[in-house]
């Protein structure tokens, strides 16, 4: 088993779980789904620099080979921004729950129209 396979399959599993959860009806599950998707996206962006062992992008006279620093810089800010986004969505969900008394993503606990047979979650 190669690291490449491990990373690729992890990304795939995280994406699948993220999509499934973000399609749920409760705000908290959607937040969880977005969190998992964010892991996947950050890993994917990071992986675009390819997987390299033991060559951190810390410049040294004696070293000539490094891993790609650019995806790392992008992902670093992405991780922090992910926190900002998650926090915002969580607070939005909380506020919406406090305003309406329901944590359904569409703001109410009843289905939005009759053709929709499912009742939440």
């Amino acid at each position: 088993m190669t690291y490449e396979f491990l990373v690729a399959s992890s990304i795939g599993v995280l994406v699948a779980a993220g999509i499934y959860l973000s399609l749920r009806a409760r705000t908290f599950q959607v937040v969880l789904g977005l969190t998992l998707l964010s892991y996947a996206v950050n890993l994917f962006l990071f992986a675009s620099g390819r997987l390299v062992l033991n060559r951190p992008p810390i410049w040294d006279k004696a070293v000539s080979e490094y891993t790609d620093p650019l995806p790392q810089a992008l992902v670093l800010t992405a991780i922090v921004i992910t926190f900002g986004m998650t926090a915002f969505v969580v607070i939005l969900a909380l506020r919406s729950f406090l305003e309406t008394g329901s944590d359904h993503v569409d703001g109410d606990s009843v289905p939005c129209d009759d053709s929709d047979t499912e009742k939440g979650e």
Binding site: I79, V80, A93, L98
Partner: protein, 951 residues
């Protein structure tokens, strides 16, 4: 360019006046009307200076480049056509300002009125003086908007608001068509410069786009000039104050369409298509509106329909595509402006002094208001086309031209219909004057009140009526030079030979004219019988039809929106994900090539495989157990931990540090939020939907995983990373390339990112700050603690340990910050670590204890952070470098030795402050809310217990 200043001043004057009036809008009516009058007078003076050269054949113009990429230049030009219209706009504008000064009632918002009026005047001047068709469109739209303000000036009246909205919908909608037509015209002609376009008539008419251009432009003209079937907005616009009607509907707004037809005459006219459409629309409008006008009872409504009819006449004349007909149109524009403005003002006077505009309640007013009677009767006679007034000459010329046009191959059609229209014109004009001023008063009450108004109120209409009379008595002296020059400008060549006179001998036109006058007199005589006949037939109400169309559009637009945009996040997200999945499949199929690339893989170590299995298991657990929310948070943190480990393994120490600290903060956030959210909501999901979503999720996961695999097994393309690695130390002064990229190479991105983060923090604060109020506040106060609490709220060991840990953690944070330029660390990571140190205090010792010891404001930190980062960037400008260029140097201090200082460090301080502020603001506020809810809960419990004790 000698005239540039004059031209720009001319167009700018009304706008400046509008601005000034708006600025002093609380001042007296005299100041408002004075400013408006001064602007109009000033404009007239400037125009007078241009009149001699323009009539002499010169075309003063000026150009300023505005948006050259679009071909939009600020070009103004005055040719005789523009001169005539500008004169009407300013001249009648001045008279309307005087009239309105006396007309408006006490306590009305004169500032708003005159400011809107001047805005409109400026827009109209812009239309007639624009030398670039795109500029013309800008002003065209501006007239629609400013006329909306004027028509709806009496905002408290429903019909005013509805009339304004209808006018805007119709003229604005036509304006959209006009934009399309003009842009197409400019594209076909190869220029948006008006003078150039006018030269290229043949080129435009030969183009296959000509019918489309013609249709769209005519749509704009016909809606603006209230031509059938778009005429209905004009009568409803009569809800406006009378000065507005006098201005907009005599000489300006509705004439804009006629103006544009005349303006583009050389380009558009002459084809069969043009002649048939324009002539028949004009003819139908003229006859139809004249018939309706005969049977209206509201003075302004009669005038509105007569205006529609007269506009139809003008459109028809221009549609003939004959030079003499164009000349007749030009003359009639002058006549109509004079008599119609006078009549509107007279109607306003009658309304003002009797309290009613219903012609059935008026009559015999000549005795009570003789001055008004003389003015209005003369103006009405000119409208009827009776000799020796101006209207007679232009109507004669019109009738003279009618046999020249054989519409649909029928040479008699146009003369017969035109004569019918003229007959009804005579009818409604005579009826207006006769029923208003002669005979017996029909209602004693308004008659008793009636009297002539102050001189200032009747003088403007008197002046216009004198003009209407003189245009008949000495047309050659008064109008011929202007009319000749204007006609030349319209047809784009020399005007034909003409002789304006009352008597041309006995010819067909005179016979038709006599028939019309006789017929009109007959209609006045038998008006009561005709009215009965008219009223016995039911008529379609255009307003109701308009409302029905609007309602229809409204319903279907709503349905369409609901069809494509269900108010359900689940469905929208499903659709979005499905589209993305489809795009990936499409890309994969189109790309071709092998699934697995040639890059050799790295064999994974057993611990790594275990970590991977842990991640997969945790992910599965999150999905499977997503209702057990606290437990799920543990699974999520396991995932985060494995991701951090992956970063460590794959040579990304900075990322690992960031991920692990963000992980802590995120879990804290979710814990705090979950405290207030439902912990384990009931399962209500339907199985089919779960399967459907699950299928989509699996497909999406397999695809993205496959894409990752395909990417990871291929060699990367050439990237700019080599540059960053090579220049990090010599150019940025740091060995941690990731940090140097963040604070130096791509510092602008980072600046944007911390600003976004700061905004998110402030938005969260705003969302939480206001939860105390309204239904959210009530729900928060009635919040029930649903989790078992430890009896010891703040365990001593934890409190003490966290206090000891604080200075240590701070030291670690500062260390990470300081070494960040050369070793893993930096502003982002340090901020998160230090935030965790403080959050630990909140956790251990409680919100209140910690909050009272807090010495910094998170809002200010966000602000100062962004400002510091920006100031660092701007500092580079002071040294002549680009924004955000960094510099560094090495310094020696005794004891410490050699050390490095980089300006990027200052930037990183900004990053640190913003991130720290945003994180703290979010979490501290959230725990504050939770604290408040818990306290309310405790108080409620206590009072409940007290009540039980008492009973």
């Amino acid at each position: 360019m000698a005239y540039a200043l004059t031209l720009y001043t001319l167009v700018a004057l009304p706008f400046v006046a509008a601005l000034l009036i708006a600025l002093v809008h609380g001042a007296s009516r005299g100041l408002h009307s004075g400013l408006a009058g001064a602007a109009s007078t000033g404009g007239l003076a400037l125009l007078a200076g241009l009149a001699a050269p323009v009539i002499g054949g010169e075309v003063p113009s000026a150009t300023l480049s505005w948006v050259p990429a679009l071909g939009l230049d600020l070009t103004l030009m005055v040719d005789p056509l523009g001169l005539m219209f500008a004169g009407l706009i300013l001249g009648i504008g001045l008279l309307v300002v005087i009239f309105a000064h006396f007309y408006l009632y006490k306590g009305e918002d004169t500032g708003r009125f005159f400011a809107s009026l001047m805005l409109f005047q400026g827009a109209m001047l812009g239309i007639v003086l624009a030398g670039n068709v795109l500029l013309l469109l800008v002003f065209w739209e501006l007239t629609s908007l400013s006329s909306f303000l004027l028509i709806g000036f009496w905002q408290h009246k429903a019909e005013g608001r509805q009339g304004a909205r209808m006018a805007l919908a119709v003229t604005g909608g036509g304006g959209l068509a006009l934009i399309g037509g003009m842009v197409l015209l400019g594209t076909v002609a190869g220029s948006f410069d008006l003078a150039t376009i006018l030269q290229r008539g043949a080129q435009v008419q030969a183009s296959p786009h000509y019918p489309v251009i013609l249709g769209l432009i005519l749509l704009g003209c016909f809606t603006k000039s209230a031509q059938f079937p778009f005429h209905f907005w004009l009568p409803h616009a009569m809800a406006a104050p009378t000065p507005v009607s006098a201005y907009l509907h005599s000489a300006t707004m509705v004439k804009a369409g006629v103006f544009l037809l005349a303006r583009l005459w050389p380009v558009l006219s002459g084809t069969d298509l043009y002649t048939v459409i324009v002539t028949s629309v004009g003819l139908i409008t003229m006859v139809f509106a004249a018939i309706v006008a005969l049977f209206r009872h509201d003075l302004k409504s009669i005038l509105a329909y007569s205006t529609i009819s007269q506009l139809g006449l003008l459109v028809m004349l221009l549609g003939f595509s004959l030079e003499m007909a164009a000349l007749a149109a030009v003359l009639h524009i002058l006549n109509h402006a004079a008599f119609k403005a006078a009549l509107f003002m007279a109607a306003g006077i009658v309304d003002h002094e009797t309290g009613t505009r219903d012609i059935r309640r008026l009559g015999g007013l000549a005795k009570a208001m003789p001055v008004t009677a003389v003015i209005a009767t003369l103006a009405a006679a000119s409208m009827a086309g009776l000799p020796p007034l101006g209207g007679f000459i232009s109507k004669e010329m019109m009738l003279y031209e009618t046999p020249e046009v054989a519409l649909f191959g029928l040479p008699w059609l146009v003369p017969v219909l035109a004569t019918i229209g003229a007959t009804f014109s005579v009818g409604y004009s005579l009826r207006l004057a006769w029923h208003l001023f002669f005979g017996e008063p029909r209602d004693p009450e308004p008659f008793a009140r009636a009297h002539d108004p102050a001189t200032g109120m009747w003088a403007p209409s008197a002046l216009l009526t004198v003009l209407a009379v003189l245009l008949g008595l000495m047309p050659m002296l008064l109008a011929a030079p202007l009319v000749g020059a204007v006609t030349g400008a319209v047809i784009g060549g020399a005007a034909p030979e003409f002789d304006l006179a009352l008597w041309h001998g006995v010819n067909l036109a005179l016979i038709l004219s006599t028939i019309a006058v006789a017929g009109g007199a007959l209609m006045l005589w038998r008006h009561a019988a005709l009215l009965r006949a008219w009223e016995s037939v039911s008529h379609r109400d255009a307003k109701r039809m308009f409302d029905a169309v609007l309602g229809f559009a409204d319903t279907w637009v709503r349905k369409a929106i609901i069809a494509v945009h269900t108010p359900s996040l689940q469905r929208m997200l499903f659709a979005t994900v499905a589209v993305i999945v489809a795009l990936i499949i499409d890309g994969a199929l189109a790309g071709g090539g092998a699934f697995t690339g040639t890059r050799p893989g790295i064999t994974a170590s057993p611990p790594a495989i275990m970590a991977w299995a842990l991640l997969i298991a945790a992910t599965a657990a999150v999905v499977n157990d997503s209702r057990q929310r606290f437990r799920v948070l543990i699974y999520v943190s396991v995932i985060g931990l494995v991701v951090s480990l992956a970063f460590v393994r794959f040579s990304a120490p900075d990322l690992a540090l960031t991920q692990i600290s963000v992980e802590v903060v995120t879990i804290l956030l979710l814990l705090l939020a979950l405290n207030l959210l439902p912990k384990a909501p009931p399962v209500l999901s339907s199985t089919p939907r779960k399967w459907r979503d699950g299928a989509l999720a699996v497909v999406g996961g397999v695809l993205v995983g496959g894409v990752s695999w395909a990417m990871l097994t291929r060699e990367p393309g050439a990237s700019i990373s080599a540059y960053h690695l090579a220049n990090s130390k010599p150019g940025g002064g740091g060995t941690n390339v990731v940090n140097v990229i963040l604070v130096d190479f791509r510092a602008f991105d980072t600046l944007g990112e911390i600003i976004v983060l700061g905004i998110a923090g402030l938005a969260i604060y705003a969302l939480l700050y206001s939860t105390a109020r309204g239904s959210a506040g009530a729900r928060l106060r009635s919040w029930q603690e649903d989790m078992p609490h430890s009896p010891e709220r703040h365990p001593m060991m934890f409190v003490m340990a966290s206090r000891i840990a604080l200075p240590l953690t701070l030291t670690v944070g500062i260390y990470l910050f300081l070494r960040g330029h050369n070793q893993p660390g930096g502003g982002f990571i340090a901020a998160l670590v230090i935030a965790i140190a403080f959050l630990l205090q909140y956790l251990a010792a409680g919100y209140d204890w910690t909050d009272t010891r807090r010495r910094f404001g998170e809002h200010q930190m966000i602000g100062w952070g962004v400002l510091t980062a920006m100031a660092t960037g701007l500092g580079a400008l002071a040294f002549g470098a680009n924004f955000l260029t960094s510099t560094f140097g090495y310094f020696y201090l005794p004891l410490i030795g050699k050390f490095e200082l980089a300006s990027a460090m200052l930037f990183d301080t900004g990053v640190f402050l913003t991130v720290f502020g945003a994180v703290m603001l979010t979490l501290a506020q959230l725990s504050h809310i939770a604290q408040r809810a818990a306290r309310a809960h405790a108080e409620a419990q206590a009072s409940l217990a007290a009540q039980e004790d008492a009973s």
